[in-house]
């Protein structure tokens, strides 16, 4: 997905000289082509994320559209006050791009796990939040971000995620996007972990539970009406995210439905509220930190039976 992001941004930079890529000395083998092609639109800010976001805000005030790129929490939590004060307070068109969020950098340890970022960044005023599941959603998200000169957070995986769509989806209404038809229960997913929802849906199919899977890359502004109608006819919604269950995507859906007085049963699935000490790759940690295939399957099964 990071290659897809850089490809898409390179194409945008070709037609819009205001598009810039700022990196915090990360992206080996990925960002060099952008810098070679558009040296005046590329800046390696070094290992200095606070300064990088402040510089991006200054560039945005001068009319640029900077994308601030680093991995996991480095472009988000480290310079959080710069994002809040310099970018959001002034409503500037800076986009924070975090590659390898969730557990994508599993083996590198908890410092590199981006598992609280959505909860924190979605509370910032005017901040749009996107967690695409694949390269197609990523390209659509970049287009949506550039269509509006306001702050945005783009939360990416880092692998070659399987494509969920036949072509680039339309995110102008905020989604959600249907990736698997089903009639009993809706699983609403944000991000690359949608593949796990599809695997679980296959398992449950053999048990007689028909699972509808929706991908929802636009976390904020959340299209509550769209989610409600996309889940229509099923017993309720299970949300799934590679992120703590506290304050993230599932919380956003719960808030949106509660504020509207909708009584749709909703169950959020995500990571437990703990700093993991498990060593292992993304799949390994998922299986042991509250997002195992078996746990997700059983949770959806129980939820479906109770809500029916």
């Amino acid at each position: 997905m990071r290659d897809a992001f850089v490809r898409k941004l390179t194409a945008e930079a070709e037609t819009d000289p205001n598009v810039m890529l700022l990196v915090g000395d990360l992206g080996f083998g990925v960002v060099a082509a952008f810098g070679d092609a558009y040296p005046d639109q590329f800046l390696n800010c070094g290992v200095a994320e606070q300064s990088m976001v402040g510089i991006a805000a200054g560039l945005a005030a001068a009319g640029r559209r900077p994308f601030v790129y680093s991995i996991s929490n480095f472009p988000s939590l480290r310079p959080l006050e710069q994002i809040r004060n310099d970018v959001c307070y002034h409503g500037l068109g800076v986009t924070i791009v975090a590659v390898g969020t969730g557990l994508a950098y599993g083996s590198l340890g908890y410092t590199h796990h981006g598992v609280e970022d959505m909860a924190i960044l979605r509370t910032l005023p005017g901040m749009r939040v996107y967690t695409p599941a694949d390269a197609l959603e990523c390209a659509a998200a970049v287009e949506q971000i550039l269509a509006d000169p306001s702050p945005a957070y783009l939360r990416l995986g880092k692998n070659t995620e399987p494509l969920m769509h036949a072509g680039q989806p339309d995110l102008s209404t905020g989604g959600p996007l249907l990736v698997r038809e089903g009639s009993d229960v809706t699983v609403l997913v944000t991000g690359p972990i949608v593949v796990q929802a599809l695997a679980v849906a296959d398992l449950l199919e053999s048990e007689g539970i028909s699972v509808r899977v929706l991908s929802c890359p636009v976390v904020k502004p959340l299209n509550a009406d769209g989610i409600r109608s996309a889940a229509d006819g099923t017993v309720g919604i299970v949300t799934l995210e590679e992120h703590t269950v506290l304050g993230g995507f599932g919380s956003a859906v719960l808030e949106a439905f509660a504020l509207r007085g909708w009584r749709t049963p909703i169950m959020p699935l995500g990571l437990a509220d703990e700093a993991t000490h498990i060593v292992g790759g993304q799949e390994w940690i998922r299986e042991r930190a509250g997002l195992s295939t078996d746990h997700v399957r059983r949770s959806i099964e129980t939820f479906t039976r109770r809500a029916s």
Binding site: A57, G58, L59, D86
Partner: protein, 274 residues
């Protein structure tokens, strides 16, 4: 001429902080001469063309000196003097830290420290790339030179040789709980900026001619002007006193302060917003 702007701004700032119960009068009095020389003379800014794309950019990183910033700007004609009357109070235009929203001529909202230098680097960099000959001035406190973000930005400014960027540090040597050298020492301060690749100029931060000269002179590198100042400058019982970062002047303080500030007048009236 800028000395009279500074004198009037000092009177207003003392009145503003007393009226509203606001802190930071010492910081305001410390920086007012720097601001008066910038807004009133050296910076290519004008209250009648605050949206002019070719204007110089003045950023005030020490947002807590808002009473001084707003007083200088109001007396320089950026917004009505009447706005100063309800500074910091409910429903005022002007809050306790420098805010860009709805205030003509303010380029950046500040309040948390260490934010304006990185932002200024971004603005200066955009101009450098575009070949626009415009200057970016960043007014900073010495206390905020403890912030890592300040030095991150200092590295980038030197790395890109941003000669269009000038930082002015209000070196009054006091912060909230004590002297800068007692809290977290900055010396050798000028050497630090030089080591980071900046050209350093040391000036008397209350000498308008010296400030103007140091500010006007261009360089091929980023310039750090270390303005040696006295916190609380102009009011004898506030000068170089750590407590006047925080204390609010009462009616007696104001009376004494205005006597001293009005006595400084070179033939001008010393009344309210004179």
């Amino acid at each position: 001429m800028t000395t009279e702007l500074a004198r009037r701004a000092r009177i207003s700032a003392v009145q503003m902080c007393s009226r509203s119960g606001a802190s930071h009068i010492g910081s305001a009095l410390s920086v007012i001469d720097i601001l008066a020389v910038l807004y009133g003379d050296v910076a290519d800014v004008d209250p009648h063309r605050t949206d002019d794309p070719s204007r110089d950019i003045v950023l005030v990183s020490k947002g807590h000196s808002a009473s001084g910033v707003y007083a200088v700007m109001a007396h320089a004609g950026y917004f009505p003097l009447a706005w100063l009357d309800d500074y910091y109070l409910d429903d005022s235009h002007l809050g306790g830290h420098v805010t860009a929203h709805g205030i003509p001529g303010v380029e950046l909202s500040t309040g948390a420290l260490g934010h304006a230098l990185p932002f200024g680097v971004g603005r200066a960099l955009a101009d450098a790339i575009d070949g626009i000959d415009r200057r970016v001035f960043v007014v900073m406190s010495d206390g905020e030179c403890a912030e890592g973000s300040t030095w991150e930005a200092a590295l980038m400014a030197a790395h890109r040789q941003l000669g269009n960027l000038t930082a002015i540090i209000d070196r009054n040597r006091l912060q909230i709980l004590g002297g800068t050298e007692d809290v977290l020492g900055l010396e050798p301060f000028a050497d630090k900026w030089r080591a980071f690749g900046w050209e350093v100029r040391d000036v008397d931060g209350h000498d308008h001619e010296a400030l103007a000269e140091a500010l006007r002179r261009r360089s091929g590198r980023p310039v750090a002007i270390i303005a040696q100042t006295i916190k609380g400058k102009g009011v004898d019982f506030m000068e170089d006193r750590v407590e006047w970062h925080t204390l609010v002047p009462n009616a007696d303080h104001v009376t004494t302060a205005l006597e001293q500030l009005q006595a400084d007048a070179s033939g001008g009236s010393g009344s309210d917003h004179a």
